[in-house]
C-alpha cells in the first residue's frame, strides 16, 4: 500500500525530498491514537488528568498508570505508547537523582525538561533504534516561581504551556482549555474543569467503553509534592459534571 512517504519512511536516517523525517511523524501518529491527557497551570499549582479507557472489567482500578512522579516535586503525564513513556520516566528519575547527589539541590523543572528533550532527540538519529512513540507533559510547582508545565513531543521539541492536551482528543480539549481563565483558577477548580473536558468533550460514550479518570497535582496544598488527587475529589468532580449535563438538558 503506497502512502505519502513511500520510499523515504523506512528509517529515521532518511529525509524526504521536502525535508521531513517520516518516522518521527509516524511516531506522532502513535500518540494521536492514544487516549487524551490534559495538563493545566493554575494560580496555585499544576493539575494533570488522563482519560483511561477501561479495556476489561477484570482490570484493577488504578492499574496501568499514565501519571508518574520524578523526585517528589515533578509529575509526568504520558500519552502514546505507555511503555515508551515509562522508559523516559525512568531516565528522568535517574537524571533527577544524579543531579541531587551531585549538587544537593532538587533538579529545576526546566533543566530536567531540557535533558529529557536531548534524550528523546537521540532516538531520532539512528536507523537501529526507533523514536519514542509518546508525548510527555512535565509539571511542577514552586513557591517562588509558581507553576510550570512543559510538553515534550516525539520529535523532542519541548515547549512551555499554561494549558496543554495530548492524545486523541487534543484538538477539542485545547479549544475548551483556551476558554478557561487559568490564572484565576485554583487547583480544586481545575480538577472539576479537567473532569468536564475529559468526560463530556473528549470521551465518546457511544464509540468507546467506559473510562476511568486518573488525576494528579503538584500544588500549594500538597506543599509542592506530586500526589494523586484524592479519590473523593475526583468523585465530587464527576458528580458535578453530571449535574452540569442535567442543567443543560
Amino acid at each position: 500500500m503506497s502512502g505519502i512517504g513511500t520510499g523515504y519512511d523506512l528509517y529515521p536516517t532518511t529525509f524526504s525530498p521536502d525535508g521531513r523525517i517520516f518516522q518521527v511523524e509516524y511516531a506522532h501518529k502513535a500518540v494521536e491514537n492514544s487516549s487524551t491527557a490534559i495538563g493545566l497551570c493554575c494560580k496555585d499549582g499544576v493539575v494533570f488528568g488522563v482519560e483511561k479507557i477501561i479495556l476489561s472489567k477484570m482490570l484493577v482500578e488504578g492499574t496501568n498508570r499514565r501519571v508518574f512522579s520524578v523526585g517528589e516535586h515533578i509529575g509526568i503525564a504520558t500519552a502514546g505508547l505507555t511503555a515508551d513513556g515509562r522508559r523516559i520516566v525512568q531516565n528522568a528519575r535517574q537524571e533527577a537523582k544524579n543531579y541531587e547527589n551531585f549538587t544537593s539541590d532538587i533538579i529545576p523543572i526546566h533543566v530536567l525538561t531540557e535533558r529529557l528533550s536531548i534524550y528523546v532527540q537521540v532516538f531520532t538519529l539512528y536507523n537501529y533504534i526507533r523514536p519514542f512513540g509518546c508525548s510527555l507533559m512535565i509539571g511542577s510547582y514552586d513557591e517562588e516561581k509558581g507553576p510550570s508545565l512543559y510538553c515534550i513531543e516525539p520529535d523532542s521539541v519541548a515547549l512551555g504551556f499554561y494549558g496543554c492536551a495530548i492524545g486523541k482528543g487534543k484538538q477539542e480539549a485545547k479549544t475548551e482549555i483556551s476558554k478557561l481563565k487559568l490564572s484565576e483558577m485554583t487547583c480544586k477548580d481545575a480538577v472539576k474543569e479537567i473532569a468536564k473536558i475529559l468526560i463530556k468533550t473528549v470521551h465518546d460514550e457511544t464509540k468507546e467503553k467506559e473510562m476511568e479518570l486518573e488525576m494528579s497535582w503538584i500544588c500549594k496544598e500538597t506543599k509542592g509534592k506530586h500526589k494523586l488527587v484524592p479519590k473523593k475529589l475526583i468523585e465530587e468532580a464527576v458528580e458535578w459534571v453530571k449535574g452540569q449535563e442535567n442543567e443543560e438538558d
Binding site: 551531585f102 549538587t103 533543566v111
Partner: protein, 219 residues
C-alpha cells in the same frame, strides 16, 4: 653509603604540598577569606607568593590545602560544573551547591586524593557562607573555618576572638592577625597575607605585604 640524590635532591622529588594557613570567616553581609602565600616542596619554598584564593564562580571562592595538584584539578572541575549549571539553569549557583560538588569529588576519590578545601562565598539565598571539607570528604557548614598546617596554631585564637555578625573591619582584622600569627609559628606557612572580601557587590581583593605584618610577641 653516601647517596647523592637522597642527600641533595630529596626535596625536589617530594610532592609539592601547600603547607598552608587558610581562613574563612562570615561577617555581617558576606565572607572574608584569607591565606598565606607559601608553597613548599619539602623545605624548599617553590613559590613564596602563591595565590591560594581560587575563584570557583563569580562570588564563590575556595581555599586549598594539601596536595597542590589535587586541589587545583578539583577546583577547576567544580568551576567547570558550576559554570555549566549556571548557564543551564539561568541563575548563579549557591555556595551550598558548589560546596556539595566539592564533596562529591573529594569523597568518591578519597583513596587517591590528599586534599582539604574550604568553600566560601556569597549568594542571595543564604548570604555569606563557609563550608569546610576536610580530608575524608565530609562537608560541614560553619560560621568560620581554618585549614592547613598553620591552622593548628589558631584554634585558641579563633575560639577566643570570633564573634557572630562582626563588621567588615572587625572580620578583616580577625583574619589578618590570624594568618600573621600562623605564619610566625608554622614553618609550612609564610610570605604575604592575601585576602578577599566577598559580598553582594562582588569580590574585593587585598594584600598585606611581609613588612606590614603586625609583630606579635617577638624578642
Amino acid at each position: 653509603m653516601f647517596n647523592f640524590e637522597k642527600e641533595f635532591l630529596s626535596d625536589l622529588n617530594k610532592e609539592v604540598k601547600t603547607g598552608t594557613t587558610v581562613m574563612a570567616v562570615t561577617f555581617k553581609g558576606g565572607v572574608i577569606i584569607a591565606a598565606d602565600s607559601r608553597t613548599s616542596s619539602g623545605s624548599y619554598a617553590v613559590n613564596r607568593v602563591t595565590d591560594k584564593l581560587t575563584p570557583v564562580h563569580d562570588q564563590i571562592y575556595c581555599l586549598r590545602s594539601g596536595s597542590a595538584a589535587d586541589t587545583q584539578i578539583i577546583s577547576s572541575y567544580v568551576s567547570y560544573y558550576t559554570n555549566m549549571f549556571s548557564i543551564e539553569e539561568g541563575s548563579k549557583p549557591t555556595v551550598k551547591k558548589a560546596a556539595h560538588m566539592f564533596r562529591e569529588f573529594l569523597y568518591q576519590n578519597k583513596q587517591y586524593l590528599h586534599a582539604a578545601i574550604i568553600c566560601a562565598g556569597w549568594d542571595p539565598i543564604e548570604g555569606g557562607s563557609v563550608y569546610s571539607l576536610p580530608l575524608g570528604g565530609s562537608i560541614v557548614k560553619q560560621p568560620f573555618a581554618t585549614g592547613g598546617s598553620g591552622s593548628t596554631y589558631l584554634y585558641g585564637y579563633c575560639d577566643m576572638n570570633f564573634k557572630e555578625n562582626m563588621t567588615e573591619e572587625e572580620a578583616e582584622k580577625f583574619v589578618t592577625y590570624g594568618i600573621t600569627e600562623a605564619i610566625a609559628r608554622d614553618g609550612g606557612s609564610g610570605g604575604i597575607v592575601r585576602k578577599a572580601i566577598i559580598d553582594k557587590n562582588g569580590v574585593r581583593r587585598k594584600t598585606v605585604y611581609g613588612n606590614k605584618l603586625k609583630k606579635f610577641w617577638e624578642k
